[in-house]
């Protein structure tokens, strides 16, 4: 749930940096260059990129659907092949036992165990389908502010990197302190910086 429907959770950012003059051409180029690439038919473990907010399979933006009046609306999509540690442990132990029996060895060296673990991991990754996740964003161009429809720290870190990579602009999380700094006038600035926690009882 995010920008389009249902209840929403979001984090607020300020967008820092200069926008180019031919902004919409720039956005068109950069979004397409960083659009989502499917990994269903590859053995890649991870993919990240932009898709349309209307459809997670639309990475071509057939309708130019990232533009809505003075807003850029996009969905960050990630696909990741994940292996749970217990599954990896199970198949690694199974393979270790098989090799011990086959080679009639009482135990395996650390190096061999490591090699088995890596091989099993690679095999399991290849077999597991990528798990998709999508996160909407809405960039207000007039105010240089951005809403990101997630509160997950991992998703926020991925967004900050992808946004920087795509547009060369920096996102700054709008925490109460930074928000307040913009709201006080000059006469209050010193008092604002000196604020200490109050005792409410």
């Amino acid at each position: 749930m995010g920008l389009l429907a249902g209840s929403a959770s979001f984090t607020r950012f300020a967008v820092q940096g200069e926008l180019p003059e031919n902004f919409w051409d720039f956005v068109a180029d950069r979004v397409v260059a960083n659009s989502f690439k499917d990994i269903d038919d590859t053995i890649d473990e991870f993919s990240i990129g932009w898709v349309s907010v209307a459809n997670m399979f639309d990475s071509d933006f057939a309708y130019g659907s990232y533009a809505a009046a003075d807003y850029v609306v996009l969905t960050m999509r990630t696909d990741e092949r994940k292996i749970s540690s217990s599954v990896l442990k199970k198949y690694t132990m199974k393979e270790e036992e098989r090799i011990k029996l086959e080679k009639e060895l009482p135990r395996l060296s650390r190096a061999v165990k490591l090699e088995i673990k890596e091989r099993i991991r690679a095999e399991l990754v290849r077999q597991s389908p990528p798990i998709p996740a999508t996160f909407d964003l809405c960039w207000n161009l007039a105010e240089n502010s951005l809403l990101f429809f997630s509160t997950s720290k991992k998703a926020i870190a991925l967004l900050e990197d992808l946004f920087k990579e795509t547009f060369g602009l920096t996102l700054v999380l709008q925490i109460p302190w930074l928000l307040g700094q913009q709201m006080v006038d000059e006469s209050q600035a010193a008092q604002y910086e000196d604020m200490r926690p109050a005792v409410l009882l």
Binding site: L3, I175, G180, M183
Partner: protein, 181 residues
């Protein structure tokens, strides 16, 4: 100072904002007068998370319930706990919103927007989709505006001589909460 340190060191500002807004909403029975916008509805409901101390030594208390008057949470204030998360209903005119605000980063969680005439769009009609998006954005921005204006009001009082008087009233309200137990 990097952002992580800033969030931790200045956490008190968001916590005090939630406490102040709670006091302010109860001062006039759920109505707060914004300097430029007049009266809006601000009601604390259902869910509150309070915190005491920092880092490993911090204690958290969650208070929730459908018809809760947040008595436990009020008692928590008297034990020097500060609100870390609160579920708030905010309304201006016909538009009513619900949101869970967090003190540390002022995230908006589980936002409920007013019901509108907008219909679901399957993405095949670009104009319909754009209208739906812009309608949702307008509502989200109204909620953000109202929270921002409440925060602006708090920060302006917090950095002025008015704060000392406000603090006395808040303390009085906190101790009245204890008497109601």
């Amino acid at each position: 100072m990097d952002l992580v340190d800033l969030i931790q060191e200045k956490r008190f500002l968001g916590q005090e904002f939630l406490a102040w807004m709670w006091y302010k909403s109860e001062e006039r029975g759920g109505t707060v007068e914004l300097p430029n916008d007049g009266d809006i509805l601000v009601v604390f409901e259902k869910h509150m998370l309070l915190e005491y101390g920092e880092g490993d030594t911090s204690e958290k208390v969650i208070c929730r319930g459908l018809q809760t008057e947040l008595k436990e949470a009020r008692a928590g204030l008297l034990l020097a706990k500060k609100p870390e998360q609160a579920r708030i209903r905010i309304a201006r005119g016909d538009n009513e919103y619900s949101v869970t605000l967090s003190a540390g980063t002022l995230e908006f969680r589980n936002v409920r927007l007013p019901k509108t005439a907008g219909t679901e769009n399957d993405g095949k009609d670009p104009e319909g989709l754009e209208a739906q998006i812009l309608e949702r954005i307008a509502l989200l921005e109204e909620l953000i505006y109202l929270v921002n204006e409440l925060f602006r009001m708090f920060v302006n009082i917090r950095c002025s001589q008015e704060w000392n008087d406000e603090l006395i009233k808040i303390r009085q309200w906190v101790s009245e909460g204890a008497l109601q137990q």
